[in-house]
């Protein structure tokens, strides 16, 4: 395999958890809620996947991860939707609680300092024929099921948001909750459900980190990916297609370090890691980007 082909494969692999989390964040933000706590959902999903993967195998591990991520988001939704606490602050607190709780539980479950868990990783599913395409074959057709599921999930979200009544109702909650409620939409429930969905996908992202990338759990292993998901949604201008491309861009930026090591380039790659964030800021600075953000994003749904 050539270095370029390896780099592209690494880019897609790195982008997978980002795409999963960003898809969830996209849905909840289109419903008008910014879920900063998705970082916490990713961590909860990662720990659940690690424990489940050791005890039950990778299938149940994924289910547990989805549930753990959704449960974390459920706590968030309880505060934000039901008690109408400030979204950003609540999300930050949820991240703090989840960071501590996953680390503490990990110690309680697996002993002091955790002695480096070894969790069986899922193998890539190689599509015969297509994976042999030069350069991009391995990147697109020799990935784990998580990657294929992430792409299919994004297509499903696009379809639902753009073409269904449910999608229209959800977007109405993010643009003008008062009008949505007047039209008979249960905005609180819709926003809560969107948060649970985002949490579940955050959990899936955590499972991908454990079951595909690392094969172990470590404290704080999400390493800011939840925040990156928020960046990806903004860079993708709150549209499914844009989010897909933005996730790949962030994945590619992180994968550059492999390329640098392989080529023996000594340039500090941190300069390149910063690029996608700068690009996001620039994208936000254009007026069209603001038009893309849901009008009621971040605002409480006051009755």
């Amino acid at each position: 395999m050539s270095t370029d082909s390896e780099f592209l494969a690494a880019a897609v692999r790195t982008a997978t958890p980002l795409l999963l989390a960003a898809t969830g964040e996209l849905v909840v933000e289109r419903a008008g809620i910014i879920y900063v706590g998705i970082e916490g959902s990713i961590l909860a999903g990662a720990l659940a996947a690690a424990a489940g993967g050791l005890a039950l195998g990778s299938g149940p591990a994924v289910v547990l991860a989805l549930l753990a991520g959704a449960a974390t988001a459920g706590l968030f939704a309880l505060f934000v939707v039901r008690w109408r606490t400030e979204q950003i602050v609540t999300g930050t607190a949820i991240t703090l609680v989840a960071t501590g709780a996953t680390a503490a539980l990990y110690h309680v479950l697996f002993g002091p300092e955790g002695a480096g868990l070894r969790i069986p990783v899922v193998r890539p599913v190689v599509v015969p024929g297509l994976s042999a395409i030069p350069l991009i074959g391995n990147a697109l057709f020799a990935q784990s099921l998580f990657t294929y599921a992430a792409v299919v999930g994004m297509l499903a979200v696009w379809w639902t948001l753009a073409r269904t009544h449910l999608g229209l109702a959800l977007r109405a909650c993010g643009e003008r909750p008062s009008a949505a409620r007047a039209a008979g939409i249960a905005t609180g429930r819709m926003r809560g459900a969107a948060a649970l969905f985002a949490g579940a996908l955050g959990g899936a992202a955590g499972a991908a980190l454990v079951l595909v990338q690392s094969g172990t759990f470590a404290e704080g292993m999400s390493a800011g990916r939840g925040f990156i998901a928020i960046a990806i949604v903004a860079l993708g201008r709150w549209r499914p297609g844009g989010v897909l491309i933005a996730a790949l861009a962030f994945g590619a930026a992180s994968a550059l370090q492999y390329l640098f090591q392989a080529r023996g380039w000594t340039l500090p790659y941190q300069a390149f890691l910063a690029l996608p964030y700068v690009a996001t800021l620039v994208a936000l600075a254009t007026t069209r980007a603001r038009g893309a953000a849901p009008a009621a994003l971040g605002q409480a749904d006051s009755e």
Binding site: W83, T85, A93, L96, V97, A231, L284
Partner: protein, 350 residues
């Protein structure tokens, strides 16, 4: 609400929440199967139990939390959701280390380093503050700036600012003359007094000055503040945002010249994020940020001791910190319930 009740409210909140924190921690430790008295004794010894722990651990930890907490309190008071204190703090630390390496006389070098830190923090907040005027949510832009700051530091300590042997990803250690003086026999540095002075100054500004009034009016109700005609809302928000960044930058500068003496990626163990909890617990009142920062400084210093002496993961304390924020967030909700109940009682509805 009566004025006297309001002025005492933060005291009750910090006190009540401290007790709640201890109860929650004890419960979690018991659930985790740890020896609760042993763990709590270690927590106490590591935070308040000995004068060395108090001066060299608790107060040293509380200092950056106090300044960054002030930064968050000011921004939130103005209705600006600056969660970029971490990035602004790193920008300040970077500027301080760079200036502290210049060939200047001691006091001048240190003074300039701290001024540069405050300036850098403000500059780092500026893009987000300007974008906010164009309608970009500052949550998203400050998160971006946090990541950019972290990566820029990562680059600098492997590139232009790396120490001369190029063995470690960190800057050169600054000269003794450029360091904040320490209290002999402890790790406590002059920064704690600077932080306290900043808290008092900001408290007076917020309470007594016209600018403080504008900031408070802005946060309380931007529409009303604008329509009352006396407040240029975007301008005051921008000012509060940049001053907030400067305070966080100063926190970084003081940490760099008082504690770490060098720049590296792990310089801040998330002070900028913990500061959000610190500010909220103080109900965004600058004067109460000090006791709140002390509580969090003690918790973090105690957590380190608990991990070392009792084998209890420091993460338990992180859970408590996050729960405290959730608890404080619920206080307005509780107040709202109470007022609704009182209202129903008055109007005779069920």
């Amino acid at each position: 609400m009566a004025a006297s009740r309001r002025s005492l409210e933060p005291v009750a909140v910090v006190g009540g929440v401290s007790v709640a924190a201890l109860i929650l921690l004890a419960t979690l430790l018991a659930l985790g199967g740890y020896d609760v008295p042993v763990a709590l004794a270690a927590l106490w010894r590591g935070s308040f139990g000995t004068s060395y722990a108090f001066f060299s651990a608790t107060l040293v930890r509380a200092t950056p939390l106090l300044l960054a907490g002030l930064a968050v309190a000011l921004a939130f008071r103005a209705g600006v959701w600056n969660i970029g204190a971490e990035g602004q703090l790193l920008a300040g630390a970077t500027a301080a280390i760079a200036v502290a390496a210049l060939p200047l006389s001691g006091v001048l070098r240190l003074t300039l380093a701290l001024l540069a830190a405050a300036l850098a923090g403000g500059v780092w907040a500026l893009p987000a503050a300007l974008l906010r005027r164009r309608g970009v949510l500052e949550v998203i832009s400050t998160i971006m700036l946090n990541f950019i700051a972290l990566n820029v530091v990562g680059y600098l300590v492997r590139g232009p600012l790396q120490e001369p042997t190029h063995a470690y990803p960190q800057s050169v250690t600054i000269d003794a003359v450029a360091r904040l003086p320490r209290v002999p026999g402890t790790r406590l540095h002059l920064g704690v007094l600077i932080a306290l002075a900043a808290a008092i100054a900001l408290g007076i500004v917020m309470r007594r000055s016209a600018w403080g009034f504008r900031v408070r009016a802005l946060g309380a109700n931007p529409q009303a503040a604008a329509s009352a005609g006396m407040i240029d809302v975007p301008r005051v928000a921008l000012q509060a945002f940049v001053v907030s960044g400067s305070l966080a930058g100063l926190a970084g500068g003081i940490e760099a010249t008082g504690v770490t003496y060098a720049l590296y990626e792990g310089l801040s163990p998330g002070y900028g994020y913990t500061a959000i909890a610190v500010a909220l617990l103080a109900r965004l009142d600058p004067l109460f940020v000090a006791p709140s920062a002390l509580l969090f400084g003690a918790l973090e210093a105690g957590a380190t001791a608990m991990q070392r002496d009792a084998g209890v993961p420091a993460a338990f304390v992180t859970v408590v910190e996050g729960s405290l924020v959730l608890l404080v967030l619920l206080l307005p909700v509780v107040t709202r319930w109470q007022s609704e109940r009182a209202h129903r009682a008055r109007t005779g509805a069920s």
